[in-house]
């Protein structure tokens, strides 16, 4: 290991062992129909290290200031997909967003993702989202006898759908889509991504059926290529590209 690298790391570590607490205002959209019919904005001020996650700030608020603040979370490192929310107007995972990256010198707004019914604070009804997912047959369909060993798949064929296998069903893409906001019947980007994952899997034999499902009036043709979904995806999936590939497959019937 070269010394320059070590020096750089020493500096980084020195930086992270000394605490630089800053004062940050979190402006959170609160809603609890047990308490009030209408949602309200509430400000919380925290002394916090800007290198912490927005999720850490929400925990600090819940654990030290207001136990009734409600949000979903689990893994806290961007894998489980529980904590998608609108932070400064943009869909992100609270556990993958560091405070320093969302302009902490101004109040940081946090609200529930849009287009799904808010149930309490940052918690939304995920059922319509998962229904759209289930509707695209998100599972491998094969015909004939199963082989005794594994099915063969070349590395290239495996690579063909790699991007869309990364989806964690957090709904950040679907709830950033203006078409979905205006029409909850639209399947939405996440369902199409999960259809793509199977349509382009060389082992699957139900591509035609899935394409027909997405040929529906609430299917892929509703997409207006605004790229909001691609921007919102915390896994870096090229969502719009996947939707375009499904559209193309519908025209050419080749996939």
């Amino acid at each position: 290991m070269a010394t320059p690298t070590m020096d750089k790391l020493e500096a980084l570590e020195k930086d992270s062992t000394t605490s630089h607490l800053i004062t940050v205002t979190f402006r959170i959209r609160r809603y609890n129909p047990e308490v009030a019919e209408e949602p309200t904005w509430q400000d919380f001020q925290l002394e916090i290290d800007p290198k912490e996650r927005v999720l850490d700030a929400l925990h600090k608020i819940k654990w030290e200031l207001d136990g009734s603040l409600t949000f979903r979370r689990s893994c806290a490192h961007g894998i489980c997909g529980s904590d998608a929310m609108r932070i400064n107007g943009k869909n992100r995972l609270a556990c993958k967003t560091l405070i320093k990256d969302v302009s902490p010198e101004k109040p940081i707004t946090v609200e529930a993702i849009k287009g799904l019914t808010v149930l309490k604070d940052l918690v939304v009804d995920m059922e319509p989202f998962f229904q759209a997912y289930r509707d695209v047959m998100p599972f491998l369909v094969t015909k004939g006898n199963e082989p005794t060993r594994e099915r063969y798949q070349s590395a290239e064929d495996r690579e063909r759908f790699d991007d869309t296998t990364k989806c964690i069903l957090c709904a950040a893409c679907t709830t950033s889509c203006p078409v979905f906001w205006n029409d909850g019947q639209y399947f939405g980007p996440a369902a199409i991504v999960n259809a793509h994952r199977f349509i382009f899997d060389s082992r699957d034999e139900a591509g035609e059926q899935r394409l027909e499902i997405l040929n529906d009036r609430d299917g892929v043709w509703r997409c207006r290529t605004t790229f909001n979904c691609t921007d919102a995806c915390p896994r870096g999936i090229e969502v719009t590209k996947a939707i375009q590939e499904v559209k193309r497959a519908l025209i050419t019937r080749r996939y």
Partner: protein
Amino acid sequence: MKIHKYDTVIVGAGGAGMRAAIESTKRSRTAVLTKLYPTRSHTGAAQGGMAAALANVEEDNWEWHTFDTIKGGDYLVDQDAAEILAKEAIDSVLDLEKMGLPFNRTPDGTIDQRRFGGHSRNHGEAPVRRSCYAADRTGHMILQTLYQNCVKEGVEFFNEFYVLDQLLVEQDGVRKSAGVVAYELATGEIHIFQAKAVIYASGGTGKFFKVTSNAHTLTGDGQAAVYRRGLPLEDMEFFQFHPTGIWRMGILLTEGARGEGGILRNKDGERFMEKYAPVMKDLASRDVVSRSIYTEIREGRGCGPEGDHVYLDLTHLPPEQLDAKLPDITEFARTYLGIEPYTDPIPIQPTAHYAMGGIPTNVEGEVLADNTTVVPGLYAAGEVACVSVHGANRLGTNSLLDINVFGRRAGIAAAEYAKDAEFVELPENPAAFVEEQVERLRESTGSERVADIRKELQETMDANVMVFRTEQTIKTAVEKIGELRERYRNVAIQDKGKRFNTDLLEAIELGNLLDLAEVMATSALARKESRGGHYREDFPNRDDVNFMRHTMAYREVGDDGTESIRLDYKPVVQTRYQPMERKY
């Protein structure tokens, strides 16, 4: 209060729960109760792979895998169970592939395999490529594939239902499972699920540590529910500390990073594992590597201004290899540390990772009421259970395997049992315990906060019962936990509502963590030897004469209501492998 009736109820929807559900839904009317949406489960955070001696890339066989598992577990493994694990591994991986799991492929189009800690050719000769993987997101792919197949099979889920109590009823002198009591997060309503068979698959309990790879939700709810009802917990002193967690955060960086050629280095840049494990080096078993890291730190060779960590060095690996094989963990380093793994080594420290102990079961997943007696209608699989295939230390890639092999077995066994069994009549006031628990917390005017007690619990666990333990440190922990349990009686919550009251659930989860931490520390205090993940500086050697046996911890309540823990022991099943000194 609502009452539901199902043949089979599964508690938890991670890998083990969903693998069980796929089997039991085909055979019996099944409900899956899960406190999270299924795809949020922590199986999804597993990275490196799933072991199976497919021999796709080099010679391998299940007997070698069995031996490695037993040796890895420092001979506390039940050898009949390990043999089943290794044998059924092969079909288990092939089943997942047929369900659609997108494994990485060899140039021939078969499932690719890579090296992992403790897995060796011919009983320890050299590392072997046994881990079947999908980049560094194998757990994610398993969780997604199993969920996809649950959708396909029409598995019935009750999402965000917290199981808070196990119903046991005595019939003709035998305690049988009658069902479970669940709390619905959305409404605060209490539900009774009467079931012929119940399977616990609710995962681990790592949240009693501060630096941990575990999700916030891993609070040992299943273990606590059966323990409170007088059933034993096995080998709770054995907890795995994964060598490579992100420094101070604990986020997991897969052992696959070392499988791909990554090297651990101290502040002098020295590859220190060569000293501790001359053959397997950085791929020695996790307990060995974690102790080595802390030995380096204690002897002043740790990195950083406080010398409190070491480096995982991937800088000599081609960026294309990191992008293809380790995309997620390299992104974690960038996101959370601001480090570029192509050019900079990553600061790491051991992180609390996996409970080897849990609810004792036999190889069919049936829960044990003591050393030999089965509880009719009660099953467990996955991290919540202790079969015991992991003994004193689990090998990497054996947990994704465990959930598939024993999840499947438990699902089949429970559904087959439910076919012939009658419903056990519910006890009078089945919801009484949960109603009382929920009301007490909602109405408490106490002065203690959940977050304060939890923080102190986590701090004492990290300080006293982590990688190195002594009688004195464990006693300090036991005392502290006792004090925190007293303070917990006086805990209050702020949210008094019914709707999505996560404040209330966090309080209940803390109660579970306190109970289990006490069991863990008490079991650790009594085990005066060092074995696998349990290392006692005051008893640094393994003691097969006195401690080649499983710990069985029971909760006892005296006539005056005082609680205590009674420890008993269970023999280890040994078949063909005699205990030897463990070297890597």
